[in-house]
Symmetry: C2
Subunit: 191 residues, 2 copies
């Protein structure tokens, strides 16, 4: 046999196979798992906030009535090179602009606070078959200076950092963080 | 009237009233809220992980069957002075030692990773009517060097950082972080 069994011969077809049908969140969860297993970062999706109304303790604490709560923070957080990282995943099916009603007011407040405290905070936007890391700072800039209710795609494309899909990793957003937050990361590495 | 209405005259009795019946988690949640409102730190309790089994979409997405999952990380995380912070609250009713079965193996693994990545990670232990910040580093030290299944109280008392209860704040654990992680915090302030 020419190749050891762990080398993938049909690389391209496997990419397509694996990527097909996986939504943005799944591709990010894949990356989180990869980073964790390879000790590159510790970033988790937060549990979905749920309000529990009633529990049946006779059935091993089975929850019998509960409801989904609206999240007031972003979906993912954790640590990378000592820095606090938090972000949200947003799938955008509109091809010309990203509607800002995708982001709740309290999420904007939260993102503003995280940035003020020196954290890395951004969105991962899936749009027009690409993935972009869009910095929280650029989002706030847009909100403060524009009256529009959506971000035109050319701003996402220009200001955003395009993220690679990698067969082994999923969406390689750490590479995007290194690009987008060079100074913060360098400062941290000096310590 | 001698005092403006916002000055509490019955300070002591109000402390007792407020503190009475509040468990450790509530006192920490109070502090998180105080820090958030006063823009000192952004630290939240993570939502309880719940596995959703069935949802009735005809009733506004009411969850009709779900179960509590075991957490694999610690309960609280967030950012303080640019640093990643994560901790867990542990109430200990035993007066002589803190049983280590209070902490799951995957939580120990997680804590080890957070420390390796430069994060601040600890337990807040309520024991013998006091609150202690016990550093993750000291916990790992103990686990690696001792065969015992519980940490004797004198080690908690000696290595731990005693936390103050403050009427306005709750358990003032940020002060404890400043004490326990002086160097990390100073390094961050230089940047």
């Amino acid at each position: 046999m020419k190749y050891p069994s762990n080398i993938k011969k049909n690389y391209k077809s496997q990419i397509n196979y694996k990527n097909r049908g996986m939504d943005l969140e799944e591709l990010i969860n894949e990356a989180c798992k990869y980073y964790l297993e390879n000790d590159l970062a510790v970033i988790y999706k937060k549990p979905t906030p749920i309000g529990v109304v009633s529990v049946d303790y006779s059935k091993n604490a089975l929850i019998t009535k509960a409801f989904f709560k609206e999240p007031s923070t972003l979906d993912y957080n954790g640590i990378y090179k000592g820095k606090y990282v938090e972000f949200d995943a947003k799938e955008c099916h509109n091809k010309t602009s990203f509607p800002l009603n995708n982001i709740h007011d309290h999420q904007i407040k939260h993102l503003t606070k995280i940035i003020a405290h020196g954290g890395i905070c951004f969105l991962i936007i899936s749009m027009n078959s690409n993935y972009y890391l869009f910095k929280g700072e650029d989002l706030l800039d847009f909100l403060n200076n524009e009256e529009r209710k959506s971000i035109p795609f050319d701003i996402i494309e220009t200001k955003g950092y395009k993220l690679d899909y990698n067969y082994n990793i999923g969406i390689d957003y750490l590479k995007g963080i290194v690009d987008a937050y060079k100074e913060l990361i360098l400062n941290e590495e000096k310590n």
